[in-house]
Symmetry: C2
Subunit: 154 residues, 2 copies
DNA sequence: CGTGAAATTTTTTGGAT
DNA sequence: ATCCAAAAAATTTCACG
């Protein structure tokens, strides 16, 4: 998971282009990088095989599809060893979009979308607090996502 | 930002396909949905114009490009009115990938990647704590991202 | 690894229902 | 809004340097 060395500056240029627009034609990337389309094709294949690229996605505006509430939630566990089981339960809640094992304030930390504050309350009360192993939670509601972007390539 | 009504079930099917693979040929989406490629093309164009789709991206494995530390940070502000200025300063730090205006424990909440814990410490000490307006921060380090996924379409 | 070329497939546009 | 069809462009593969 740590190797970084087999990525050269052409790879970085490719990555920085395709991370900002997954639909950009590889031929356009090729022209910009002054190599053939086949070279780009081949390198992207290699980056996928190496696990550098995990996939691609269209980015949706959550509120446009009815998700008006975004929250982060810190979770306290009864026992740290319950982590794996709790992850499995959280995975069954589709509104939970991100789940981390953390150190600091909380044992776990999740990001969650809900249709409304009322819906969030229901998810919290009906689903999260019924998961055995969770002792308590703290909710941080996002009133506004100021920005969200890709991590810098190099 | 709130309208949801002009999205029908075909749009949802399209969205759920392209959010999981941004490079899927629209013709393949068309075949799966049993409509013409032109219809998919046109609907995706419409979804972009409506702002439902904000863009697309390749997903990178952070550790494969040298980012071994992921953290969340809660920020306390000296005055809530300083929010806009602080956002501008945070935007200048490329390692900060997400920034929220929050209610709950903190006034602001960010997600941040760093090459190492040492690098995170440097960002925190040299950059974040020099931003006027920030009174203090609390760091939550992610030891493991258990999962990360798209929000459910419908 | 890179290239160029060939075959296949997709994207994109315009006119018709 | 959808379709069909045609033109343009991109993807994919492969033999070769």
């Amino acid at each position: 998971m740590e190797s970084n060395l087999q990525i050269d500056s052409l790879d970085k240029k490719i990555l920085s282009m395709i991370t900002h627009n997954a639909r950009i034609p590889f031929l356009e990337v090729a022209r910009e990088c002054k190599v053939s389309g086949a070279a780009i094709h081949q390198r992207i294949q290699r980056l996928m095989n190496m696990g550098v690229i995990k996939g691609s996605e269209f980015i949706i505006n959550p509120s446009k599809i009815g998700y008006h509430t975004c929250a982060f939630m810190g979770i306290f566990l009864k026992k740290a060893s319950l982590f794996d089981k709790v992850v499995k339960m959280l995975e069954e809640i589709p509104e939970v979009v991100e789940c981390h094992y953390t150190t600091g304030e909380y044992a776990m930390f999740i990001k969650i979308f809900a249709k409304s504050n009322e819906h969030l309350k229901r998810i919290l009360h009906d689903r999260l607090q019924n998961i055995p192993g969770i002792s308590s939670t703290e909710t941080i509601i996002s009133l506004d996502e100021s920005f969200k972007r890709q991590l810098p390539i190099e």
